[in-house]
């Protein structure tokens, strides 16, 4: 294949639209049409039985079209929402109803659904519903869940959804036999994806053709389509799901179906009008999903060089009130915790616990930030105990470049072996040390100390399993105009798919980049797809686009060879023109497309060339038995297992001796996601990831009180970083270790920037302060309190 566009810093084609305000999001659908609006009554209590819901009078309000409670739902709609990812260890999986039946388990749980002329009327109608609750004691936080003196679900003893143990070797025996041991307790608080566009769904039922169209802000169109069809009793072929522009997903929108994704289509069919639901910010805080909250206990045994001989980790995962997304997050923590290291033996046990808080589904990083934090804190503790340099302890534990593929002896989140395909961790570390100035830091620290300033340096290394299966597909269609339409089923939330998939298709086909148009997340264009998560889009759909474009190219060459009376081997395609190499005999791709589709009827000048008196061998059928009309290619990519990207971050922070303010002085990233399709987009992903990581490490947390009320459910109190909180400059260096698992050698990059943040800041702040940080995130107030407490205990 030519690599003309692959690897180039091509500007994102979608940005013209976004920057000019021409983005088209779910809430833009149906504007100017006769659309009805939905609003949802949500529980104000964390845990309560519903004694009675009084909706009398609601329908009397002018402009109200419909009000539903669970009593109004029938058939599959009255059942609990799907448990999307079952697992043998998930012995007590519980999911919510589309509308609460007899109990609410978190503040924000949907109870009643109203459709009205506009959102104002709908909210007024919601406000007029009276619910009588019988309050139950709530379970808030991992300690309360473990104590289990109160239960979230009466039929789930110990609040325990699942317990899963994996072991490679005999970790406890290895620790017992180790010359040195350590124990650590490490916690991470809750945060959330917090896309600026919340959830939203619009639906239109066309009774004339019996067809449902759903526009929804999701990370999986095909998943929503299947759920809507199943819940509404429609055939799959009656449901189209279209994902327009999405204003951020970051994981939360992979969960589906949300109650509103079912209720809105059902209402559209019931009232025969277009119905829209747009989540507001407070609803997003209390009725979408959170992540990250875990408590970990580590036992580790190591030798004099800091080499880990045995590692035994137990952790408790707060999965919130329901667990529709299964055990994906804790499984990822438990496996990806290992990072680039090879402990002599490893055992990990987790318990996934119910609490009366918003449920947990993956948030960018998806359990990896916690795992990375636990492993890196452990290695820092070992270095500290041995008095060794932290980078030396890492180096002593790295998997070496000649050890790939490296089997970690565990089962990963996709049910496949945790087998790393490629990487070069020692080279990454060398680059990182250069980039951050690791060896020069002691002198810098002295200079700063002379000015009365306190600084610290930290690093953190991670490995990220990306491009999980089962598959993605692509369809490439060369139109008679020579334009190329590429469709892939997974969705886009800002990753620049319209640019990178066009790069791949144009390279393979030899057409012009500007002639390629990419459509994602539209089940009418590609009905077989999985979704956008786990840094998989470039790997999965990128590979599928490559394969599908290759098929289209092969067909184009075959037809062109026939038309030009040449051998396909002598042809080349450049700028959309097929020519015999070294001659001026050529044919446009568009004309090849015309010839690919034998016609009876001409519709323009060009198509005359394909009509029945112009082409074809009278002795053969116009379309050969093993062929089909049209210049198209369709193919699917389904890898054996995930491909493993890796990276390392380092940061230098300054902590104010008086106010405990934490300032970032320098931030460096070394990143290896294999060959880069578009370095500008990869760097953008890293920049964004680091920004989100800084937020998670230093700013964002979910402040629940003991009664299960989320106290900071607004952007006044939940701290998103401004540009002033994000490092103005991030030094980035790349390593390109190709993956043997896909035709392009690529690995995922979407989550990388956020994974090591908690670990790297904990490391640097510990270094500055001289005592270990064991709870993240950390605010200046937290740090100040830690200092005060240490003074008291001295």
């Amino acid at each position: 294949m030519t690599t003309k566009l692959f690897g180039q810093k091509i500007q994102r084609v979608e940005d013209q639209r976004f920057l000019r305000g021409d983005g088209r999001y779910v809430d833009d659908i149906g504007v100017g049409q006769d659309v009805l609006h939905a609003a949802v009554l949500r529980s104000p209590h964390a845990h309560a039985r519903i004694v009675d819901i009084d909706v009398s009078g609601v329908l009397d309000l002018e402009g109200v079209h419909l009000v539903w409670t669970h009593d109004d739902l029938t058939g599959p709609m009255a059942d609990p929402l799907p448990l999307l990812i079952p697992h043998p260890a998930l012995t007590h999986g519980r999911t919510q109803f589309a509308l609460a039946r007899d109990e609410v388990n978190h503040v924000g749980e949907a109870i009643a659904f109203v459709v009205a002329d506009d959102r104002y009327v709908a909210e007024d109608a919601v406000a007029s519903i009276r619910v009588e609750y019988d309050l139950l004691p709530p379970v808030v936080g991992i300690d309360a869940a473990r104590e289990a003196s109160r239960l979230v679900h009466d039929d789930v003893p110990g609040n325990l959804a699942a317990r899963l143990e994996q072991e490679n070797g005999d970790a406890r025996a290895a620790i017992a036999a180790s010359p040195h041991t350590l124990s650590l307790d490490l916690t991470v608080e809750r945060s959330a994806s917090m896309p600026l566009e919340g959830r939203g769904t619009v639906a239109r039922w066309d009774p004339d053709v019996g067809r449902m169209t759903v526009w929804t802000s999701t990370q999986t169109s095909t998943g929503v389509r299947a759920a809507v069809a199943a819940k509404l009793g429609l055939d799959l072929g009656q449901v189209d799901v279209v994902t327009p522009d999405v204003g951020g997903g970051f994981g939360v929108k992979i969960n589906h179906p949300w109650p509103e994704e079912l209720l809105v289509p059902l209402a559209a069919r019931t009232v025969g009008r277009i119905v829209k639901f747009t989540e507001d910010r407070r609803e997003h805080f209390i009725s979408s999903a959170h992540e990250r909250g875990q408590v970990h206990h580590v036992e580790v045994g190591y030798d004099d060089d800091g080499r880990v001989l045995g590692l035994d980790v137990t952790f408790w995962h707060d999965n919130g009130a329901y667990i529709p997304y299964g055990l994906i997050v804790p499984i990822i923590t438990s496996t990806q915790l290992l990072g680039p290291y090879k402990p002599g033996a490893y055992r990990v046990v987790f318990e996934s616990l119910y609490t009366n808080t918003v449920m947990v589904t993956p948030y960018r990083g998806a359990g990896r930030p916690q795992g990375c934090y636990v492993m890196e804190r452990t290695l820092d503790a070992i270095a500290d105990a041995l008095g060794q340099d932290r980078t030396d302890v890492r180096a002593a534990n790295f998997i070496q470049p000649d050890e790939f593929p490296f089997d970690q002896g565990l089962i990963f989140q996709d049910g496949r072996e945790l087998e790393y395909d490629s990487g070069d961790y020692p080279a990454s570390l060398a680059k990182l040390k250069d980039l951050i100035g690791w060896d020069e830091f002691p002198r810098f620290r002295e200079e700063m100390a002379a000015e009365g300033r306190r600084v610290g340096i930290g690093l953190a290394c991670y490995v990220e399993g990306t491009g999980v299966g089962p598959y993605e597909g692509a369809h490439v269609h060369v139109e008679t105009s020579g334009k190329v339409k590429v469709a892939t089923g997974l969705t886009t939330q800002g990753q620049g798919h319209a640019t990178v998939f066009a790069q791949i298709a144009a390279d393979v086909l030899g057409c012009r980049f500007e002639d390629v148009e990419v459509v994602t997340g539209d089940t009418r264009r590609m009905p077989y797809a999985v979704g956008t998560f786990a840094s998989r889009a470039a790997v999965m759909s990128g590979s599928a686009v490559h394969l599908a474009a290759t098929r289209a190219r092969e067909k184009a060459l075959r037809i062109a060879a026939d038309a030009l009376e040449a051998s396909p081997d002598d042809l080349e395609i450049v700028e959309g023109v097929v020519s015999v190499r070294g001659t001026d005999t050529s044919i446009d791709l568009g004309t090849v497309a015309v010839l690919s589709n034998p016609l009876r009827y001409a519709f323009d000048e060009a198509s005359k060339a394909a009509t029945q008196f112009s082409v074809g061998d009278p002795g053969k059928p116009p379309v050969a038995e093993d062929d089909e009309p049209g210049l198209e290619g369709r193919d699917f990519y389904s890898p054996e297992r995930s491909t493993f990207a890796s990276g390392m971050h380092a940061v230098i922070v300054e902590t104010d001796p008086d106010t405990a303010e934490i300032t970032i002085l320098k931030y460096a990233v070394v990143h290896d996601c294999g060959p880069l399709i578009n370095p500008m987009i990869v760097e953008g992903q890293i920049q964004g990831g680091v920004a989100q990581g800084v937020a998670g490490a230093l700013l964002e947390r979910m402040a629940y009180d003991e009664s299960g009320q989320l106290l900071n459910a607004s952007f006044m109190d939940f701290l998103m970083p401004y540009v002033t909180e994000v490092p103005a400059r991030i030094d980035i260096d790349h390593l390109e270790t190709p993956s043997p698992l896909n035709p392009l050698g690529i690995k995922g990059a979407g989550e990388a920037g956020v994974i090591p943040s908690a670990a790297v800041f904990a490391s640097a702040i510990s270094d500055a302060e001289g005592f270990p940080i064991t709870a993240m995130p950390i605010s200046p107030s937290d740090l100040f309190d830690l200092r005060e407490r240490r003074k008291e205990t001295r």
């Binding site: 503040v107 919601v126 309050l135 009664s707 009320q709 106290l711 459910a713 607004s714």
Partner: protein, 202 residues
């Protein structure tokens, strides 16, 4: 959340106790109280209009009193709900006579504030409720002093079903109230509660 505070009322404890247990007084002195109805022994239903920051609305609630120790203490349990949120609170109130002309009323509330007001207005709740409580006690002092109010004494026949409604407020006080709300005001209920807990005379 826990909210504690105390206020000095420049009257003897007997007068303060009586005033605070008189629904006719309370309905006029509780900021935002529109309606107070006796629904049984020691229980009241009430309607209060209040706001915390931008979260405003009308709450319907109930209040029940227990552990009444005349002139010393009582416990009030409050529940309220409205479009902006819910409150569920237990308030311990104690009275102490400083001297013949001064009584201190202390309150210790354990409140669960839910719904929008809990998530959006939480950080203002404590200060808003204290402010509202202050406004309430000022109103009570005014009422005892007879500043244009109905007789404070004898509402002994606070019979079930009796409804007390607030008279139209003079513009100035309305303005104060609105200003209070605007600052972040209304404790929704605490003030209310504070007030309503006194809503029964014994």
């Amino acid at each position: 959340m826990r909210i504690t505070g105390h206020h000095a009322v420049p009257f003897p404890v007997e007068k303060v106790w009586d005033a605070l247990l008189d629904p006719a007084v309370l309905v006029r002195t509780i900021p935002g109280c529109e309606r107070l109805e006796s629904t049984g022994e020691h229980t009241y239903a009430m309607t209060v209009s209040a706001g915390v920051a931008a979260v405003r609305g009308t709450y319907d609630g109930t209040c029940s009193l227990s552990d009444l120790v005349p002139h010393e203490s009582l416990v009030m349990r409050l529940q309220g709900a409205g479009a902006p949120g819910t409150i569920d609170a237990t308030v311990r109130v104690s009275f102490s006579q400083v001297d013949a002309a001064l009584t201190t009323v202390a309150y210790d509330a354990d409140a669960t504030v839910g719904g929008m007001v809990g998530g959006v207005g939480q950080r203002m709740l404590a200060s808003v409720s204290k402010r509202t409580a202050g406004e309430f006690f000022d109103n009570v002092s005014g009422a005892i002093g007879g500043a244009g109010t109905a007789p404070v004494a004898a509402a002994t026949e606070a019979a079930v079903g009796r409804v007390f409604t607030a008279p139209p407020r003079p513009p100035s006080s309305q303005q104060d109230f609105l200003r209070g709300i605007a600052v972040g005001a209304g404790l929704v209920l605490l003030g209310v509660l504070l007030g309503s807990r006194f809503g029964r005379r014994r």
